[in-house]
């Protein structure tokens, strides 16, 4: 009668209103959504929405009903106005997601019905996904996926009539189990859902400024970069890594100087890639972190353009798509090379051009060198490097430069970093009649000995020069190395030591950072970098060299069906009640049913077996023995002893019941 009483005791609740527990969970879901979006929402908006959320929760906890439209509408208008004022528009990724999160929180104000709550949860799931568009790192993804817990728990609580009286652990554990059980299917789907070769609509207008190398080199422009320890690339080599002094990653080649800043020059891309002869080559794989730019810094000297990229005339590589996510590139680099052995006249002209009027003292110095050494370009280069080595110092905080930055640097301040050295060195070379240009990119990197990869951080950004020498082509000259060899031998961090906080470099922190970086690296390569190319190669072990969309769809369909079938088997399988004795009894019942004696509902074992013995005279003795065995095993003990179960089972197997032909 418990059920009867329960049905009477339950207070008459309107089943279409949200229960108390379900509303709590809904508020947690929305709070979580707010949290994962907090990184890009303006803080005042996050604060205001959190306040609204908390007030509404308290309001309903105290028995409050729907918030009247008189309050709701102005708040909606306020949200709209605030977003338009702050972002200037309502469209785009940032204002759009801010508006969506705001709407979802305001939706709580009128959420009284189960229907409202469901709609809220569904769109909260969408909001969680959209938070990943702002960053899909390991930590961000982990936190966002935690948001599924309150969302699914809300849906369960909305269904469960006992949700309000059940404990909190009841709300979480089944959600955890169901999500864990979903992992195999989701991994399979993740691997085999065909990726789009090209986006259906425009990539998100990420208002993010390009972070990383810039296509112009101006005073101070590199400084932000050189203090930013964010990873820029992870590189693994097939074979031993090249020595530090050869780890130059070429991003931009700049030939145009206007007296203040260097730029690649407008006509730089029209020509085919320069001719080159290669010596020793090494193969490597780079995972390039998003830079929101198209340039792909590759190890000097790239021999071929990797797929989906273009090799420029100056041997820099640009990707066909903006790098908004981690891009995995496999490439070949020639450590010994001869680039552009014969120089085109127009190129020579471009690389000798100097801005009118800039650096008169530097020009005078350069012409004195060219008078002294004549056409011996190597000697001129050596002279310039010797000058840097003897009188200049390396610092990340140089004195500011005056009007003529070349002369100021060379003859006044005499201190600076790669940008100053490369810029003035190139100027000097051009003034001395040697074609020269500035190259920017990364240099060095941190070799992670645990995982055998090279970590290049943004702080490894570097600028150097290339001079064209007759018979040798473009030769890389790093004037910074002349001033501070550690910069090239050990990396930027070592060169600038003493000017930065040292505590981040204590051994155990570095150890932890190494480990953490390995995990991140794994996530970036394995998950974020899993693109359509790698997907196409996935079926290679099975003989499909280039899996196209149809192949993938077939595998996806077959695999998902298989997994769902397995799950269905689990769903259908039901453990039968009872112990081994019951199992044998059921087998006996099946045998007797085939012989024409089916056990009736509510027929006891004794009655049934006696009836069977009467109906099947040939097995009369066996059935009577079975009956006796069963009754003794079942009722003589609390638990049927194993040997009597065995005896009963044996007797059941022995029984040969045949239908009696009457």
């Amino acid at each position: 009668m418990t059920g009867f009483r329960r049905s009477l005791r339950r207070p008459p609740v309107d089943p279409t209103t949200i229960g108390r527990r379900a509303f709590d969970l809904l508020c947690i879901t929305m709070g979580f959504l707010l949290l994962v979006h907090a990184t890009h929402l303006p803080s005042w908006l996050t604060g205001a929405l959190a306040t609204v959320l908390a007030l509404r929760w308290r309001h309903r906890r105290r028995g409050g009903k729907k918030v009247p439209t008189l309050i709701k509408l102005p708040m909606l208008a306020l949200l709209l106005a605030a977003i338009v004022l702050h972002y200037g528009t309502l469209f785009g990724r940032d204002p759009g997601s801010a508006f969506a999160v705001g709407l979802l929180v305001l939706k709580l104000l009128e959420s009284e019905r189960v229907r409202d709550a469901r709609v809220g949860v569904a769109f909260a799931c969408f909001g969680l996904m959209s938070a990943l568009l702002f960053g899909q790192g390991l930590v961000a993804s982990g936190i966002v996926s935690l948001g599924l817990f309150p969302a699914l728990a809300t849906l369960r609580a909305l269904e469960n009539p006992d949700a309000d009286i059940a404990g909190w652990s009841i709300q979480w554990k089944p959600v955890l189990l169901s999500l864990l059980a979903s992992i195999p299917l989701s991994i399979f789907a993740f691997l085999f859902i065909p990726r789009l070769g090209s986006p259906l609509w425009g990539a998100p207008d990420s208002g993010q400024a390009a972070t990383g190398l810039s296509d112009r080199l101006a005073p101070g422009r590199m400084l932000d970069l050189m203090t930013d320890d964010t990873p820029a690339m992870h590189i693994t080599f097939d074979g031993p890594p090249p020595p530090n002094a050869q780890r130059y990653f070429r991003a931009y080649v700049m030939q145009w100087f206007d007296g203040n800043e260097w730029t690649p020059g407008s006509h730089a891309t029209r020509r085919p890639p320069a001719q080159a002869e290669y010596g020793r080559r090494i193969a490597y794989h780079a995972a390039v972190e998003p830079s929101h730019d198209r340039v792909l810094p590759l190890l000097d000297m790239p021999t071929l353009a990797p797929p989906d990229t273009v090799l420029g005339p100056d041997r820099t590589v640009r990707s066909n798509r903006r790098i908004d996510d981690v891009v995995n590139v496999s490439a070949l680099a020639a450590l010994d090379y001869r680039l552009e052995p014969t120089l085109d006249d127009s190129v020579r002209h471009d690389n000798l051009a100097l801005p009118v009027g800039a650096g008169p003292r530097a020009r005078a110095l350069a012409s004195s060198w060219s008078q002294r050494f004549g056409s011996n370009s190597t000697a001129i280069v050596q002279a310039a490097l010797a000058m840097f080595h003897d009188g200049f110092s390396y610092t990340l905080a140089p004195e500011p430069l005056g009007g003529d930055r070349i002369d100021d640097f060379l003859f006044q301040t005499k201190q600076g970093y790669c940008e100053h050295f490369a810029s003035s060195f190139t100027f000097l070379m051009r003034a001395a009649g040697i074609p020269a240009r500035v190259v920017t990119g990364y240099q060095g990197g941190y070799w992670n000995d645990r995982a055998h990869y090279l970590l290049v951080r943004r702080s490894d950004a570097h600028a150097w020069s290339e001079v064209w020498l007759d018979g040798r082509g473009w030769v890389r000259i790093d004037p910074t190395a002349a001033v501070r060899p550690e910069r090239v031998q050990l990396g930027a961090a070592a060169a600038a030591i003493g000017q930065r906080d040292g505590w981040l470099d204590t051994p155990w922190i570095r150890e932890m950072r190494d480990r953490w970086d390995v995990v991140n690296q794994w996530w970036n390569r394995g998950v974020i970098g899993f693109d359509s190319l790698r997907q196409q190669g996935m079926l290679q072990p099975f003989g499909v060299d280039h899996a196209d969309v149809t192949d993938l769809a077939v595998v996806l369909a077959i695999g998902c069906s298989l997994l769902v079938t397995i799950a269905l088997g689990w769903a259908i399988f039901q453990r039968r009640e009872g112990d081994a004795l019951d199992a044998w009894m059921r087998r006996l019942e099946r045998k007797l049913a085939r012989a024409g004696v089916a056990r009736r509902t509510s027929e006891g074992p004794k009655h049934f077996l006696t009836r069977a013995a009467r109906a099947l005279p040939a097995q009369r003795n066996a059935l009577e023995r079975l009956c006796e065995l069963y009754l003794r095993s079942r009722y003589a003990h609390d638990e049927p002893p194993p040997e009597s179960i065995r005896a009963f089972g044996h007797a059941v197997r022995e029984l040969k019941a045949r239908r009696v032909v009457k």
Binding site: Q136, S186, P204
Partner: protein
């Protein structure tokens, strides 16, 4: 079920009798198994799937693998919830039915015994003629689901088709099964509201007057003329006045001999209604009665068993 096109529904009923309400009657207990449990997504489920599709497209378009992974996880959880919905109903046993005696016109309170052998079944819903009951079945603790059933006429009222369904766990899928138990409720005839008392054959004039007897009824003040042997001497000694024992024989209530044929000028239903009222009154006043019907006779007796026998006979009159 959500209303669909009439043609589709008719086709479904013809082709898939167990899917729809055309399922034939079957005896209790009913075991729910996989061949009679059906699952369709709810409206919310369809909407949610649409949202998942949009999420998938967005993740693919922006080549955002983390978002794609989240979408896949959510999608798999949705698929899993379909199986959980099925598992909630699979193996459920609808056992016995109980009901009180009920009068035509008033709702019967029917209770069904729903049990589950292995695991807890949450948020099971039972639809009976538009009224929904929500309950949870715990293993080894059968739930007794009570629902009202409108009655309008005496006699056997077959249980209507019942739909047992669930949207557990997330409201995305509805698993359901139609039950058509081979059970009926006996509805007793409606008693007429007002009417004459039955004819008592003896026609005794001083009916109801107390008669002197052997049993002590009460004590009262002495009045002149009371027989001396009725004075309660011992009790009177403790009082200021004499007390007299009032002795009387309880008036034997006349047995009612209710007879179908004794009522003239009434149609069958009116006779049944009147007899039902008399049987009620007889039981309430504690008297004995007999009932003669054209095809049955219940000899003079009293008590609940007699009452139910008489009422059953009346209810089942053709």
């Amino acid at each position: 079920m959500t209303p669909r096109g009439p043609g589709l529904l008719a086709w479904a009923e013809r082709r898939l009798p167990s899917l729809t309400r055309l399922r034939p009657r079957e005896p209790l207990p009913i075991h729910l198994h996989r061949r009679r449990i059906y699952i369709v997504p709810t409206g919310f489920g369809l909407g949610f799937s649409l949202l998942l599709a949009v999420m998938l497209l967005g993740a693919l378009n922006y080549t955002n693998n983390a978002a794609l992974g989240l979408t896949c996880l959510l999608g798999s959880a949705v698929v899993g919830s379909m199986l959980v919905a099925f598992r909630t109903l699979n193996g459920l046993v609808v056992g016995g039915m109980r009901t009180d005696s009920v009068r035509a016109g008033s709702p019967a309170r029917v209770s069904l015994d729903v049990s589950a052998p292995q695991r807890i079944r949450t948020a099971i819903r039972l639809d009976v003629e538009g009224v929904q009951q929500v309950f949870t079945v715990r293993p080894g603790q059968p739930a007794l689901v009570e629902f009202p059933l409108e009655t309008s006429f005496r006699g056997w009222l077959p249980l209507p088709r019942l739909r047992i369904h669930t949207r557990w766990p997330m409201g995305l899928f509805r698993a359901w099964s139609w039950l058509h138990p081979d059970q009926a409720i006996l509805v007793y005839p409606r008693a007429e509201a007002l009417g004459p008392a039955p004819m008592v054959p003896s026609g005794d004039a001083d009916r109801g007057r107390p008669r002197a007897g052997d049993e002590l009824a009460s004590l009262r003040e002495y009045r002149a003329g009371d027989p001396r042997r009725q004075i309660a001497w011992k009790l009177s000694a403790r009082h200021h006045s004499l007390l007299v024992k009032d002795l009387e024989q309880p008036a034997p209530q006349d047995d009612w001999r209710l007879d179908w044929d004794a009522m003239h000028g009434l149609d069958d239903e009116s006779r049944i209604a009147r007899l039902a009222r008399w049987v009620d009154e007889a039981r309430d006043s504690g008297r004995r009665w007999s009932l003669r019907l054209p095809d049955a006779y219940f000899d003079i007796a009293q008590g609940d068993e007699h009452y139910h026998r008489c009422m059953t006979a009346l209810a089942l009159r053709p």
